[in-house]
Structure formats: C-alpha cells, structure tokens
Symmetry: C2
Subunit: 345 residues, 2 copies
C-alpha cells in the first residue's frame, strides 16, 4: 500500500466516528424496527465514507467548523446509501460491501422503502443543520441551508437520470465518449460535486470558492469512475474483490470499450462487439474472450488512454485547490485527489 493510501485511510478514519455517530442518531427514530434495521444496515457495512469526509474537509478548508457541516455530510452519505440500495434492486446485485444486499436480506418491498426512508432522512438532516452553523446571522444560516438543499436536490435528480442512462446503455454499443462521460458525471460525479460544494457553502465559502469546489468534486468523481473501469483490467482479483476483466465478462460499457470501438479497424471492432454481446447476453463470457478483448484494448492504447483521462482530471482538480488558504484540510483534499488514482480497490 502506498503512502497516499495509508494517509488517506488515516484521514477518513479520523472523521468516521463522528459521522457514524451522527448517522446513528439520525436514523434511530425510524419505526417499525425492521424498516430501521434495513435502513441502517448498509451504513454500517464499512463503506469508505469518502463523500461525507469531503464535505467536512471542504467546510473546514474554507474556515467552517465540523458542526456546521456534519449534518449535511451525513445527508450526502444517506443519499449515496439510498442510491446503492435502489441500484442493487434494479441491477439485481445480490452482494454489496461483501454482505448480502438489502433486498436479499429484507426483500424488495422493504428495500425500496429503506431507500425512500434514507432519502427523506437526508433532507431532514440538511434542514436540521441550520441550528448548527457557526454564524451569528440567522438569515445567513437559512441562506446556506437553502443553497445546500438546492445543490443536493439537483444531484438527486442527476443520480436518477444517470442510472436511467446507464440502464439504457446496456446492450447498446454505440455510445460516444461524451455520452459516457455525461452518464458517469450524473451517476457518480454529481453527488461528489454536491458533497464538496455543500461543504463550501456550509463552511461559509464565497461564490468563487464554492464554484471551484463543485468543479473539484466533479473532476475527482469522474476520475473515480474512470479509475474503476481501469482497475477492472489492471488490478488483481484480491484487491478489487472480483475477477479481472469482469466488466468485459458482463459486456459492460466502459470508457476503455468506448475508446477502443472508436479507434479499431472493422475486423477488431467486430471481434470486440461479438465478445461484448456474448458478455451482455450471458453475463459471463470466457477467459479467452476476455484475453482477446484485452489484446484489442492494448493494440489501440485504450487502457492507457483511460488512465490518462483520469490523471488529467486529477491534475486539474488539484489545481483548483490553489484557491484555498493553506491548511491541513486543504492538504487532505489534495491527498484524496491522488488517492483516487493510487487506490487498488
């Protein structure tokens, strides 16, 4: 494990106790019991807590205290969890964070409701944050909460739209890079951008800083998803917890596939399309097919291309941090940007 991964692990760990306590207190009033348990379950399944930590770190980096932003940070994590629960139902994914997914344990009806409950609780948490803001001006507090709600509601619409786009891509191999990037921005980037922007708002950052922090979040969100595509091919099974090339095996659209299809000659393109169709229909194509796809990706430099796209986004994201005054939190935000590429899982 690199130093970056260790350092980021330590930083995320230093916030996780506060965040977990706040999540627990937010969800403790839900009744009946099985709805409460189903709602809490995934929040205790050992997620990285990257999104809420980003909110708190940005808030601190612009001069806010942790109380001003923690309820918003928790809201972001609850929305992330809500989307995971519903996505797992839609995608029929039976495992999540190494445990059976919510609908496998409680059934689909309770899982749908648990997602809806987390979604509602997230908004409640943001609204309640107005009494925690470190500002003497009540109008200013209301203004910050209102702006944050607006950012978060926008991200929620985008998450739904991104998931619909992603489902629409299934079995459709005529996706342009621009469309692919738009999908992953909505599905993954928008909530991370909302996490960083709302941290800036709640901490009292001005318009310029707030916009820069949105862009920082958007870029690391995009890089995060692209790096997921990349790790699926270059990591090892133990690190990512699934077989190498599993995206190809399932015929999934990734930036690597999009790039290879756009560059390949007709022969290679047809070979790759055939493999993807088998993967899409069977959910599991053969090792030979995966190797064949890999050699096509290598021939056209598509794996390196994906890495370069992610790297450029991380470099741009780090430049945006220059707007912040020097602080430990600013340093942590820079490390988290590096971590997006350094992580092995």
């Amino acid at each position: 494990m690199s130093n970056v991964n260790e350092e980021v692990g330590r930083i995320l760990g230093s916030y996780s106790q506060n965040i977990n306590n706040e999540i627990e207190s937010t969800l403790s009033s839900i009744s009946p019991n099985d709805l409460q348990e189903a709602s809490i379950y995934l929040t205790k399944a050992g997620g990285k807590m990257l999104r809420p930590a980003l909110t708190v770190l940005v808030s601190e980096a612009v001069g806010g205290n942790i109380e001003s932003s923690i309820k918003v940070a928790v809201a972001i994590e609850l929305i992330h969890t809500f989307s995971l629960i519903h996505d797992d139902i839609m995608d029929k994914d039976d495992m999540r964070r190494g445990k059976p997914s919510v609908h496998k344990v409680w059934g689909e009806p309770v899982a749908i409701l648990a997602g809806d409950t987390l979604f509602s609780k997230a908004y409640e948490s943001i609204i309640n944050s107005k009494d925690e803001i470190d500002s003497p001006n009540p109008e200013e507090c209301l203004e910050r909460v209102n702006k944050t709600l607006s950012v978060v509601a926008d991200a929620c619409v985008k998450i739904c739209e991104g998931q619909a786009q992603d489902m629409g891509f299934e079995g459709n191999f005529d996706v342009k890079e621009e469309e692919y990037l738009d999908m992953i921005f909505k599905k993954t980037g928008a909530l991370i951008a909302a996490a960083t922007k709302s941290g800036a708002i709640m901490g009292g950052g001005d318009e310029e800083i707030t916009s820069a922090m949105y862009e920082y979040g958007r870029l690391i969100g995009l890089a995060f998803q692209i790096q997921d595509d990349y790790l699926d091919l270059v990591s090892d099974e133990n690190s990512i917890g699934k077989p190498v090339g599993s995206d190809i095996a399932e015929g999934k659209m990734t930036i690597i596939v999009v790039n290879a299809l756009s560059k390949a000659n007709d022969e290679d393109k047809n070979k790759l399309l055939k493999i993807l169709k088998i993967g899409n229909e069977s959910g599991n194509c053969s090792k030979e097919h995966i190797d064949e796809a890999l050699s096509i990706f290598e021939k056209y430099g598509s794996i390196q291309y994906a890495y370069n796209v992610a790297l450029k986004k991380i470099q741009d994201a780090k430049k945006l941090l220059e707007i912040l005054p020097d602080s430990e939190s600013k340093y942590a935000l820079s490390l988290i940007a590096d971590f997006v590429l350094e992580r092995q899982s």
Copy 2:
C-alpha cells in the same frame, strides 16, 4: 351525485389546469426520454388533485396568492405520485387510476427510478418556490420555504413508516385500533396534513393558524382513509370500481375489522379470523365468506362505528376552520371536508 360532490368537483377543476401546467414544466427537463415519460405518466392519469388544491386553498384562505403556494402544491402531488408508484411495486398492484401501473408499462427498475425522480423534483420545486412568494422580506421567504421543507420531509419519513407498518399488518389480525389509526395517519394523513400546513406557511399564516391547518389536514386525511374502508362495504361496484367487500376478499385489515374483532364473542371472532386468513392467503375469498363477514360486522355495529369515527373527525376538522376569516377558499375547505364523507369513490 350530491351537490357537495358537484361543487367540490368544480373547485378542484378550477385549480387543475394551473397545477397540471406547473407539474408539466417541473418534469419537462428530465432525461432520458423513457424516464421522463414514466415520471409524468401517473400525473396525467386523472387523479383528483385533492392534495395540491388543499395547499393552494389554505394559502389563499390565509391571505396568500396562488403563485406563493403552487410550487409547493405541485411538490405535494409529486410526493403523492412517487408513493403510489413505489407502493404499487411493493403491493404488486398492476392497475392504478384505471390504467396499467408504472412498473407494468416500464418495468420495475424504471418505475423505482421514476418514483425517486419525482421525489427529488418535489424538493427542487419547494426550493424554487422562494422566488414566487408574495412578501417583500427575503428572510421571511427563506423562513417559509425552510419551514415547509421541514414539514414535507417529516411527512415523507412518515409515509415510508406507514407503508412499512401496513405491510407488517398483513396476515397479523391482532391489530389495535390505536395502531391502525397510527398507520393510516402516517400512510395517508401525514401528507394531507403537510399539504394544508405548508399552504398556511407559504401563504403567511401565523403559528396558531398553521397548527390548526395541520390538524384540519390530519383529521380529513384520517376520515378519508376510514371512509375508504366504509365505502368498500356500502358502495356499489360501479362507483368504487372494484367489487363490494374486496378488502375482506383480500383479508385486509380495516377499522371495521379491528372494531368487530374487539367486540365479537369467541365464535364470531373465530369465524371472522378464518375468513380473513383465507382472504389473506388466497387474495380472494368467496361471496359466501364476504356475506358472512358482513353479517358479523352488522351484528356488532362495526360498519356504522367506522362511519361515526369518520364523521366525528370531519366535524372536528370543520370546527378548526373557524380560525380563518370568511372567504371563498374557507368555504371550499369546508366543502372538501364534507366531500370526504359524501364521495362515492
């Protein structure tokens, strides 16, 4: 059709064009297309639009204009629609408002997403309402929006909890009246109470009026659900669009069942429990069983009991309206209370 039904039909009709236009403009930006269509579908299926009309009427009754409350009214209707879409998936109801339900047309994944999208759009609509409020004081506008968001988020949590309670009641015939009323308050009453309370807030009503309007909404919401239980037994098939006694046929818990079970002697109680279990397991018990249950309900006065409970709530609700100055809107709110009992479907 009674005069009340005609008059209320006319009142609801007079707002429906404005509300429908606002819904359409709120949902027109959703992409991709199939997500937009699935999200809009039920809003165009001819619902009564009772909830949004209540919001606008209360807002007007406390002195607000329609612009101040219409985006909140629309949000309430979108939340109602979201809950119908998800409930239909959970309850495996394939028809809604005389049309195939959303998951029958687009499949469950898109239906889950359409519900989530409406939910997100509802919050966006409330947030956007701050620029429409008829008040010169920007802090006051923010305050109203913030209070409304708080009321609505609370109702959303309750809707989820109520649905979970309702699912928990399935096949459980040991439900107390208090538990039953708590369930229907959460599942139906909370959103109607949020509709009326948020109308009062957005229109600029003071604390006392706002609380009274919440209580008015809560009471007519409870009466509405109890009257549904009642109409299932005393209405005719043509009016309610389903066979008389279909709740018994499905073994559903209603206030009438709860009341009869609490009063019946052991013999009648066992007969009724047997019928309910058959209904619950088969989803459709025989005409003879329904008639037998009906005669038990009549023997213990449980049908009349339900009507009396609903009537008392409507009388109390109407008394609460006395706090309002006389106006056409106040008169309409009184008529809507009567309509809850007069309606045949």
